[in-house]
C-alpha cells in the first residue's frame, strides 16, 4: 500500500492472457484505492468498473459459498472474496489464475477436468430402494453425521487442486476434492452402495497416487481435510482386498 496524492492505494499485479489479441500472457499493474475492509475481489471489481473493463475473472456470491472466485494470490491458492488486502500490507499483490489448470482467459481457468471427475464419483446418496415420503426422513445419530460432515462442506472451489503437486504432474489423478466428496458419500449411512464408488477412488490414478503432501488440507477455505479423506479411502481399499469378492453385478 502506498500513498498517492493523499489517497492510500494498493498495487495489484494481475496476470493477463487475451488469446484473441495477444498470444503471450503478460502482467498488468493496477493501482486501486485501498480501504481496510477491502478483499482482493473488491479490488478486481474496482478495476473492472473503473480502470479496465477487459479484465476477466469469475465470482458470484462474495461470501465464500459459491467457490467460483479462486485464484493464486501471491502464489497461494485463495478465494479472492475471502482474502483481505490488508493481509498483504505494504506489498504489491500478485494475482494469477489457479495453478495446475489450463487458462482460458485472464484469471479464468478451464475446470472441465474437475467437473468430469466430480460426476464420476457419483456425488449423491444412492438408495437401493427409495422409502416412500410418508415413512419420514432417514435418521442419523450425531456420530453418524460427524463421520462425513466436514467433507460435505466442500464448495468445489478447486483450491486444493491448485495446491496439489501430484495433480500438477498428472492431471489424471482423481485429486483431493473429488476424493473428499466421494468419501463424504461413502461415509454416509444413508448411502446404500458405497462400493459403487470404489472403482473410481481405488483406480490406479485414484488415491494411490497421493504421497501425503498435505497442501490440499492447508489451503482449503472451508476447513475440509481432503488428505484425511484420501487416507481413509486408502484404508478402505486395502481392507477391501481381504474381503471375499462381491457377488452378483
Amino acid at each position: 500500500m502506498t500513498k498517492d496524492s493523499g489517497v492510500e492505494t494498493a498495487t495489484l499485479k494481475v496476470f493477463r492472457y487475451r488469446p484473441e489479441v495477444q498470444t503471450e500472457p503478460f502482467v498488468q499493474e493496477y493501482k486501486v484505492p485501498y480501504r481496510q475492509d477491502m478483499v482482493v475481489l473488491d479490488a478486481l471489481n474496482y478495476i473492472k468498473d473503473h480502470i479496465d473493463g477487459t479484465l476477466s475473472y469469475r465470482w458470484s456470491c462474495r461470501m465464500g459459498i459459491c467457490g467460483s472466485c479462486g485464484a493464486n494470490v501471491d502464489g497461494e491458492p485463495k478465494l479472492t472474496c475471502a482474502s483481505f488486502l490488508h493481509e498483504f500490507k505494504g506489498k504489491e499483490i500478485k494475482i494469477e489464475p489457479l495453478a495446475n489448470f489450463p487458462v482460458i482467459k485472464d484469471l479464468i481457468v478451464n475446470i472441465e477436468d474437475f467437473m468430469e471427475k466430480l460426476d464420476h464419483i457419483k456425488p449423491w446418496i444412492i438408495r437401493k430402494e427409495e422409502t416412500p415420503l410418508e415413512k419420514g426422513e432417514y435418521r442419523q445419530t450425531p456420530e453418524e453425521l460427524e463421520a462425513y460432515k466436514q467433507f460435505s462442506m466442500c464448495i468445489n472451489c478447486m483450491l486444493c487442486y491448485a495446491a496439489c503437486p501430484i495433480y500438477g504432474m498428472n492431471e489424471e489423478f482423481l485429486g483431493p476434492a473429488a476424493t473428499a466428496l466421494a468419501y463424504r458419500y461413502i461415509a454416509d449411512t444413508r448411502d446404500q452402495d458405497h462400493e459403487a464408488r470404489f472403482p473410481m477412488v481405488h483406480d490406479k490414478e485414484g488415491v494411490w497416487e497421493c504421497t501425503l503432501v498435505g497442501e490440499c488440507s492447508v489451503v482449503c477455505p472451508k476447513g475440509v481435510d481432503p488428505m484425511l479423506a484420501i487416507q481413509k479411502t486408502k484404508i478402505l481399499g486395502a481392507t477391501q482386498i481381504l474381503k471375499p469378492p462381491r457377488r452378483g453385478k
Binding site: 503437486p165 470404489f198 504421497t211 486408502k234 481399499g237 482386498i241
Partner: protein, 136 residues
C-alpha cells in the same frame, strides 16, 4: 484436447502394496527404535540392558520368536522406507524417471527380503553359539 473417456478400475495390486507399506509404518514406528538401540547402540557402547547379559542374547538369535521379530521388524521397515522414499521422489521433480525408480525400489525390497530370510534361516539353524565365547 480430445480426451478418451476414462475407464475406472479398482487397483488391487496398489491396494495390497499400500497395505503392506502401512503395516510397515507401524512396525518402523513401534518396533524398529528398540532394535536399533539394542543391536547398534547399546551393544557396541555397553549400555543397559545388554551391558551384563550374555552375548548371544544381544543379537536376538535365541529363539524362533526372536528370529521372527527381526524378520518382521527389518523386513517391514525396509518395505516401508523404500516404498515411501520412491513415492516421494517424484515430488522432487523426478516424475519422468518415476517408473524406473519404482522398479528399482521393488527390486531392492525383493532382494532385501530374500537375503534377510536367507541369513536368518542360516543363523537359526546352523549357528554355533560357541563362536561368540571363543572370541571374547
Amino acid at each position: 484436447m480430445d480426451k478418451v473417456k476414462k475407464e475406472y478400475k479398482s487397483d488391487k495390486l496398489h491396494a495390497l502394496l499400500w497395505g503392506v507399506f502401512s503395516v510397515g509404518g507401524f512396525i518402523a514406528a513401534f518396533l524398529l527404535p528398540v532394535l536399533i538401540y539394542i543391536d547398534n547402540i547399546a551393544y557396541p557402547l555397553g549400555l543397559w540392558p545388554v551391558a551384563n547379559s550374555s552375548l548371544i542374547k544381544i543379537v536376538f538369535m535365541v529363539s524362533l520368536l526372536s528370529t521372527i521379530f527381526v524378520f518382521i521388524t527389518i523386513g517391514g521397515s525396509l518395505f516401508h522406507g523404500i516404498f515411501r522414499f520412491k513415492t516421494t521422489l517424484p515430488e522432487l521433480g523426478l516424475k519422468r524417471a518415476s517408473s524406473l525408480i519404482s522398479a528399482v525400489g521393488y527390486i531392492i525390497i525383493a532382494v532385501g527380503l530374500i537375503a534377510l530370510a536367507y541369513y536368518l534361516f542360516q543363523l537359526y539353524h546352523g549357528f554355533d553359539p560357541s563362536l561368540f565365547h571363543r572370541i571374547i
